[in-house]
Amino acid sequence: MATDVQQRIEAYLSRLRGRLRGVNGEEVREIVEELRSHIMDKAAASGAVTAAGVDAALAALGSPEELASQYMTDNLLARAEVSRSPLQILKSLFRWASLSVAGFFVLLGSIVGYFFGVVLMLVAVAKLFHPRTAGLWTYRDSTGDLELSFRLGFGSVPGVGKDVLGWWIVPIGWLLGCALVMLTTHIAVWFVRQYRRSLVLP
């Protein structure tokens, strides 16, 4: 095969490889090898591999950028949709955030949701080990404003301030924390689904 034909294929594949950011190495190799094999088969369909044949095969695949974005969003968001694991969802949202502004805001919202969910659950557990200091406390700060604070129970018993919920923090923290994590997952998956639906594949 002529070197310029070979070069054309390699240039296309390396542009694709460069765009498959965040996809793991093994997967990238699979994608590139499969497309190389496809281009060769397609270009050789009418006998010998010609420059025109290769160009036609590359044109039919579309631009490497477009192809890469289909692989990334398809793969990742599909996984986020079936997975109910917050870690998998955050991982997918990180990649989505790198592609679009909408993804960035969904990621931001999910981080906040998961953070408060986990804090609530942590406080509920901490109460069992530090009954006198952990919980939801209210204080008056120096300016006289009322402040709410979750305490995990490290440090001394606060002099001023009040443990608002007492032992109730244990069931309430667990229930609210779990509910918040589930709700965040639900909303994130909903956004992912809407986004996937809006991606019009040609």
């Binding site: 090898e33 094999s37 496809h38 088969d41 695949l61 398809d74 996984r79 019009v200 594949l201």
Partner: protein, 127 residues
């Protein structure tokens, strides 16, 4: 806002085309899984089967990412097989979950197209 309006304008003008695109897009997954029913195929064979067996106009740039998605979902598995052409080819085959899924989808398709045909029957009789 501007974008949203622009989209609405475009869809207003091309309602028919857009609908057809959505319809084809929605059927593509079922078509690919069905093409694998008789046994393993590689990407280009799947494309050719879709083109010859139906009037689905399939973009190559859509089928490969979709195959990768079906694999991620566990509906198909893949293996590399050496060929006479001098390079290996990636073959896809249905997993048990994929077989079950394609059966379910075919069932839904049959029910759906049956009820659509009933609804459309008056059109066939003419005015």
């Amino acid at each position: 806002m501007y974008l949203a309006m622009k989209e609405r304008d475009a869809s207003g003008q091309e309602t028919g085309d857009k609908w057809e695109i959505q319809l084809r897009k929605g059927c593509l997954e079922l078509a690919i899984l069905a093409a694998l029913w008789d046994g393993k195929l590689y990407g280009l064979e799947i494309l050719r089967r879709l083109e010859s067996g139906s009037d689905l106009i399939v973009s190559e740039g859509t089928v490969y990412p979709l195959l990768s998605r079906l694999k991620a979902l566990g509906l198909v598995r893949s293996e590399w097989v050496e060929s006479d052409a001098g390079h290996p080819r990636k073959y896809y085959a249905l997993t048990p979950a994929g077989k079950q899924r394609v059966r379910e989808m075919a069932g839904m398709w049959a029910r759906f197209s049956g009820s659509m045909s009933k609804l459309l029957a008056p059109l066939a009789r003419g005015e």
